[in-house]
Structures are given as C-alpha cells and as structure tokens.
Amino acid sequence: MSDPVLEISGLEVTFPGLVRSTTILRSIDMRIDAGDVLGLVGESGCGKSMTALACLGMVPAPGSVSGGIKVDGYEVVGRSDAELGAVRGSKAAMIFQNPMRSLNPFFSVGRQMTEIIRLHRSCDKADAYMIAMEELTSVHMPDPDFALSKYPHQLSGGQIQRVMIALALACRPKLLIADEPTTALDVTVQAQIISLLRELADKTGLTILFITHDLGVVSQLCNRVAVMYAGRIVETGSVEDVIDNPRHPYAAKLMNTVPTIGHGLRDLDSIPGQVPDPAFPPPGCAFHDRCALAIELCSQTIPRTKVMAGAHEVACHRAGDIRDAAKVTS
C-alpha cells in the first residue's frame, strides 16, 4: 500500500489563556490515502477548520501544536514558516469558505494567480499566465482571459471559487484542503462547485480533505467520512458505513436520527443541550451529557477508538450496543 497523502497522529492544539489553557484539538488521528475524498463533518467550533490550518502549519499564534502531521511524507509540526514554504501550495493547497474575501481586492486575479504559480512552478510570467489559463479552463471558467484581467470584486462568489480551485490545482498539490468551500455560495452555485470537485477527483484522482457541516454534500462528494465533536474525531469510515450505519450516538444524531435499543428510531430536528465549552470539557466522553445512551462509564472515562468492521472506527463505549439499531432507518 502506498504512503498516505495525509497522516495525522495524536494531534493536539492548545491555546494558552490567562487563567487556563484551552485545548481545541485532542488526540486527532486521521489518514487520507491517495485518491480519497474525505469529508470532515461537525458543528461549527468543533475544530474542523483548525485541523485544516494545522495541516499547513498555520495554527494562529499563540496556539501550540503537538503530535504529528505528515503531508505527503513531510512532517509539518515544528517547522518554521520558511520550511513550510515547501508544503503550502506545493504539497497541500487550500480553498476557503468565503471566496469573495479570499483574494486581495487590490490586485487583479491574473496578478495574484501568476505570483503564486511562479512560486511553485518556477517559471516566468508568460508561462505562469498560460498555466493559469489552462487551469481556469479545466475548472470550466467561461472566458479565462477575461477573468484574469479582472479584480476580485468584479467576479461572482462562484467564479472566484473556481479561480481558487484553479489556483490550487495550478500548484500541483498532492492534497486539496477545502474548508467549507460552498457554505457562502448560492445553492445552485454550490451544486456546480461540488460537481466540479467530484469531476476533478474522478478524472485526475485528486485527493481531497473536504470540510463541511452539510451531510448531503458529503454523500455526493466523498468516499470517506470523519465525524468530529468537541475537538475529537468520534467516528471514521466509508460514506456508506457512517451515513447509513452510524455507530456513534453523535454521528447518528447528526444524521438526524436517534438510535434507541430495540425500539427502532424516531426523527429528531435537533440535539438537546449544548456543545461543551472547550475551556471546560466535561470528564469522560465530551458528548455524554447530550447522549440518550450514556451510562455511568461515559462520564468517567474517555472512550478509546475501536475498529468496528474494516475501516469503520468509533470512539464510544456503547458503539457495540447500537450495532443494528441505525440500520432500521435506512
């Protein structure tokens, strides 16, 4: 088996505070193989974006990072900005949630694209311009020449997101990190961007870490899913496993269903309670006080990640007990 494109092991991200420090990410393990499209799902504030930033060594100061993050075999944690120049763009390229604010309003699209392309492809301006044209064509940008001559405010959000994808591809990265790239877009444009990413993954075997809170998008785009809750990954597996047969009560609730042993399922609109304050995490499983299936053990011990079947991993004391319950709904 080939080396993974992204391998995260025991990642912790902590921000020091005046009184006490706040740990945003806790013992994250994650692996993305070449050609995989992994959906990282969770509520806002659960640490999805921080995980993405950590992959580029961009955890904002004064956050401290421990553990390991290997992008295409290159260890990111503990590297200086200068050393990370070899990763940012070249090995992993990122597209962002808010396309309208992702490009500098004071420089033309062409100038920004060629500047970055020249950094990663060591070519002259004319070649960089040609590369930009090619990549814009490959993301189905109508009239690439026109787009390159424009300033960001003259393009729409969907167009700029295409520009961002083209820019990312132009750097020939091993991994595309997409941090909620469709959240700020209209629904129809959202669908276009998703199908574009699907097409790129199918055609070119692009490896994608796709961050979202939208499970519908995950089932359209991804082949694997990781569910995150309060800074931990609680469930990982194939799309079929996790969406059709969730084993973690939080994942199950995210799928808008609640598993109850022996009584089938009923639909729920929301999960009761609130996401715990990361500065004051509850003892045991972070989800236990919102969980209908919680037992005493849940409030005492943090559950270890257990392999259920194949690559389906769950961190829940009761994962075994809800084995068949979720199947009922699907």
């Binding site: 900005d81 940012r88 990122m94 962002f96 808010n98 309003p105 004071f106 970055i116 003259q154 820019l167």
Partner: protein, 338 residues
C-alpha cells in the same frame, strides 16, 4: 472620475471663498489702524484720513469686502503695509522655504514612519512595538516649541554641531551664494554644484526638520501599525500565507497596499497640520517661510500680507488633499472600475 474632479474643484472654490471671508472679517475687527501703520512715524489726523480714503478703508465693510474679492479674482493681492512690496512677490519668495521644509518633513515621515509601523504591527507587543508606542505618546504630548528649543539647546548650545537658526549663513551667501532656481535651496545648490551652499543649507534645515519629523513620526507610525494589524487579519492575507507567499511580500506588498488608502488620508491631513505647525517652528528657527511671515504680518496688523499668506496656505492644503483624493483612484481598483 472627471465628474468627481469637477465636483471637487467647485467645492474647493467654495472653501477658498470661505477662508477669504473669515480672514477678511478677522483682519477688520482687530482694533488698529492699518493706515497709521502704512504711513509710519507720527502722522496727523488729516494724513490718516487721506490714507484711509486712498486705501478704501473709509468705505462700509461690505463694500471693502467686495472690492477685496474682486481684486483677488484678478490676482491682485495688494501691497504689504510693512514693506510696500506686492504681497504676491513677498509670499512667493517665502513659499519656497516653507515648501522645502514641510515637503522634506512629510517625505521623511512617510519613508521612516510607514516601515516602522509595519514592523511594529508584524512584531506586535515586542520591544520595538513598545518603544514605538512610548515615543508616539511622547511625540504627541510634547508641544512643538518646547521640542524646538530643546533641540536648539542640545545641538547648538551644548554640542555646537548645528546652527541656531536661519536658512543659510550670511558668510555662505556672500562667498558661495545659492542661485535661486526653484527656491528650494537644497535642490538649487545641487543643481548648480554649490557644495558649500548645500552643506550649509542642510545644516540649517536639520533642526527645524527634525522638530517636525519627531512631532509627526509618532502619529504616522502608530496609525500605520494599527491599520496593518487590521489588514493582517483579512482572509486574503491568510490565502497568501497558505500558498507560501514570502512574508516580506505579504507585508510590504499585499498588506501595505490595503493600508495605503487610509494612510493617504492621514498623510494629507498631516500635511495640513504641518503647514499650521510649521508656523511656530519657522518662528523659533527664524526660518524665512510663510508661517513666520504670517506671524509677523498678524502682529504688525499688515492685513493684506496676512490675508494673502493665509490664502496661499489654504490653497496648498486644499491642493494636497485633492491630490490625495485622486490618488485613491490610482490605489483602489474598486473605485477605478466602478
């Protein structure tokens, strides 16, 4: 954009008219007799009355005002009561001195203050940032006349490195006089290859220049720093970082361009402060500029001279700010491409 410029020019005329009106009223309510001043000595009542009639001062104020404005519109600023010279030539002689001092000051402030501000922003709460902050508070808190005299005491009194005041030493203007071409002595001396003159002019401008730079540097540095801190939070800066754009390029190209627009406004306004602030500094350093000229004219109630000089200062200020507004179009594509 042409429409915008025309609008601004019309507005400028309005502002100039306002300045004319206010300075006119101020000069006429001052209790003194310009005619007496012009005549000098101990004139008789009849002589004063005759002079007032000749100068139009016996007319009612509104008539005087209309006469004054119509003279101005023909470029006629009148004659100085003190020297009897046309105000226009008096003012343009001194304009060069003020222009040289203030422009050099603003250029230095921009060249030093902006990079210092960027550094303070990049190294937030570092030693450099804290020192810059302390100097900023000091620079704003010290009155210009105290600072000017302190510098005189140190560099002239204690060290004897620099001349006390003036624009050029009398001996230099005899031995190697600076030929006036642009009225900016440093440039004129350079153009004519007059090295003695250049050195002397530089030594003379050093202290007044230093005073103005210290007074303004702090403000420009702190404002640049704070703008920069805000810009560095922008998502497009994060994009640049995420694609490995070198830090120097991010700070001095990507981020600085965004801070340039608010900075232009600040620099325009600072230039205005400079013209006003230069009055005191010119006075203390006996710098033969417009500022000192205005002070002497007001003290002597030489109203044609003070009015004329004030108008020139207002004109410079308005022009600088018009240029600043037009530069927005150069810097900000969002304005240019609407």
């Amino acid at each position: 954009m042409v429409k915008y410029v025309v609008q601004r020019l019309i507005l400028m005329v309005g502002v100039v008219l306002g300045v004319v009106t206010i300075t006119f009223i101020l000069s006429r309510v001052l209790p003194s007799s310009p005619a007496e001043l012009m005549l000098g000595g101990r004139p008789t009542v009849e002589q004063i009355a005759a002079a007032e009639a000749e100068m139009g001062l016996d007319q009612p104020l509104p008539v005087q005002y209309i006469n004054y404005v119509s003279d101005l519109s023909q470029g006629e600023f009148g004659r100085s009561l003190r020297t009897g010279q046309p105000v226009l030539s008096e003012v343009s002689d001194r304009l060069g001195a003020t222009f040289e001092l203030t422009t050099l000051a603003i250029v230095l402030v921009v060249l030093v203050g902006i990079p210092l501000g960027v550094l303070s922003a990049v190294r937030r709460n570092s030693m450099l940032d804290n020192v810059a902050r302390a100097i900023a508070v000091g620079g704003v808190a010290i009155p210009s006349f105290i600072l000017a005299m302190a510098l005189q005491l140190i560099f002239y009194g204690a060290l004897g490195w620099l001349p006390l005041q003036g624009r050029v030493a009398p001996i230099v203007s005899l031995d190697s006089p600076i030929l006036p071409i642009t009225q900016l002595y440093l440039i004129d001396a350079l153009l004519t290859g007059n090295w003695d003159g250049f050195r002397d002019a530089l030594a003379h401008i050093a202290l007044p220049l230093l005073t103005l730079v210290i007074l303004l540097l702090a403000t420009v540095t702190r404002i640049t720093r704070n703008m920069m801190v805000e810009v560095l939070k922008e998502e497009y800066i994060r994009t640049a970082f995420a694609y490995g754009v070198p830090k120097s390029s991010i700070y001095y190209r990507h981020a600085l361009k965004a801070t340039l627009i608010p900075m232009l406004t600040v620099i325009g306004l600072t230039y205005g402060n400079l013209l006003g602030g230069a009055v005191i500094v010119e006075f203390i350093f006996d710098w033969p500029g417009l500022g000192a000229f205005v002070v002497f004219s007001i003290i002597a109630n030489d109203y044609p001279a003070s009015l004329g000089a004030t108008l020139f200062l207002a004109g410079i200020y308005l022009s600088v700010n018009l240029i600043v507004d037009l530069l927005y179009f150069v810097v900000d594509p969002r304005l240019r491409t609407q």
